[in-house]
Amino acid sequence: MCLGVPGRVLRVEGLIATVDFWGLKRQVRLDVVDEPVQPGDYVLNHVGFAIRRIPAEEIQETLSLYEELLRAGESDMMAADVRGEIEASPESADSGEPDA
């Protein structure tokens, strides 16, 4: 429950950022993030909120764990926790995906 998932900021509108999680575009809240964010920044997100702007030069180390996990398949427990974190952020209106 303290996992947190990194994503790349695409757009910022007030306290809402559109964040790309490996192709899934989600709306993340910026109420408690530590530094102002702008498009292109990476943020660490937990239960729908960005909690940390991650320095760009260090993002690859952070991403690799998650990329490994997301390859690990549907049934894996830790991968399911990562997906749960992404689910915590509502889909972005500009996701380009058809409505459910």
């Binding site: 109420d31 909690i51 952070t62």
Partner: protein, 378 residues
């Protein structure tokens, strides 16, 4: 030729950089040989650390003399029975309980929220506090957000509580826990003999690593903040064992890309505006002074404990399961026992039919060992 000295787990996960993993493992072996006694016990306090350790089979490459144990790092697991009872009573009395999925099957004194749901109560799983707000907005019924998690998660609840357009039928039942005081309690348990702490990276993202300095000083115990990538964990362990070897009770940060000394001040400010610390029981462990986060009186209008009269005593007339008496979750979370020491583990107690809270949550030691294996016999 495949590298035999760095094993990958049965899941065939690979280290990002196997040569670096081997170098770190070799360094750990060297340090433990120099210390020349065993066991050298170090404790981490994070379910996500345990997931990564178990999933990547990290214990198989650690020196035999190094005992890496999991402490009270699962907020769901340390949620006390009376806290679950409060949610059960509210659900039975007609409120809709919105809560994180792991909380559903945590046993209360007599029943879990899943049991109450099976009997007709309304319980909805949410991934975020914001989803609980949306639920409340979509209905007339009272919606109680049963909020669990450490400081990392409490800041999200705080941000929601600070919104000024909340629906009037929303309230918060806080079971949030605050980690630093619990580490202090564990440091005092003589039988645990913890010589160093690996602190959880994302909780420290909020609090900052400076928060551990009084603990290190008071108990003469080093603390190292580590990330979650397997190499992060190994690097954190190397630094921690170096400090143990040198007898230096310092705090060091091996996760600087996410953790600073002062932490996330914006988040802290909101968390402490909404919550205060209150002493209380952590399930199976101890009374932890300042270990619970409860809403401040200024937020009484959102506090389910103020809004409703919650009589949990009526549940206590129902007898708890006889199996529960054999459960050793408390000893496991205090670092005194492993899941494999429990006679119920994998037999009467499994993720389908959990007896103790540690088998419920994906951050519970028992469930993680059940899924990934824990300490394989080699």
């Amino acid at each position: 030729m495949p590298d035999e000295s760095v094993r990958t787990s049965a899941n065939e996960l690979k280290f990002r950089d196997p040569s670096q993993a081997r170098a770190l493992a070799d360094r750990l072996s060297g340090l433990c040989e120099e210390i020349a006694r065993e066991p050298i016990s170090v404790m981490h306090v994070c379910g996500t650390h345990e997931q990564a350790i178990a999933k990547y089979g990290l214990r198989t490459i650690l020196p035999k003399s190094l005992d890496l144990i999991m402490g009270p790092g699962c907020p769901v697991c340390v949620t006390d029975m009376p806290e679950v009872d409060e949610a059960v009573v509210l659900a039975e009395d007609g409120a809709l309980i919105a809560t994180y999925g792991d909380m559903l099957r945590v046993p209360g004194t007599a029943k879990s929220l899943a049991d109450a749901q099976a009997e007709g109560a309304r319980v909805e799983v949410v991934y975020s506090a914001a989803q609980a707000v949306e639920l409340a907005r979509s209905m007339q019924q009272e919606v109680v957000f049963f909020a669990s998690g450490f400081e990392t998660t409490a800041v999200a609840t705080a941000a929601i509580a600070l919104q000024d357009d909340l629906p009037p039928n929303l309230s918060i039942l806080s079971a949030h826990k605050y980690v630093p005081p619990a580490m202090e309690i564990v440091a005092q348990i003589p039988a645990t003999q913890v010589e160093g702490f690996l602190a959880a990276g994302h909780a420290a993202t909020i609090t900052g690593w400076g928060i551990f300095e009084p603990l290190a000083e008071r108990y003469k115990i080093p603390v190292v903040v580590a990330g979650f990538e397997p190499l992060d964990i190994l690097a954190g362990l190397v630094r921690l064992v170096e400090l143990v070897k040198d007898g230096t009770p310092a705090v060091d940060n091996m996760y600087p890309r996410c953790v600073t000394r002062e932490g996330n001040r914006v988040a802290q400010e909101q968390m402490w505006r909404v919550f205060r610390t209150v002493g209380g029981r952590w399930r199976g462990i101890a009374d932890v002074p300042d270990g619970n986060l409860r809403l401040r009186p200024e937020y009484a209008h959102l506090d389910a404990r103020v809004r409703f009269e919650i009589d949990i005593r009526r549940l206590w007339q129902l007898a708890p399961s006889a199996l529960a008496e054999k459960c050793i979750c408390g000893a496991i979370m205090s670092g005194l026992a492993s899941p494999s020491d429990c006679e119920l583990f994998g037999k009467e107690c499994d993720p389908e039919n959990p007896v103790g809270a540690c088998m419920v949550s994906s951050e519970g030691t028992c469930k993680i060992w059940y899924q990934y294996g824990g300490r394989p016999d080699l």
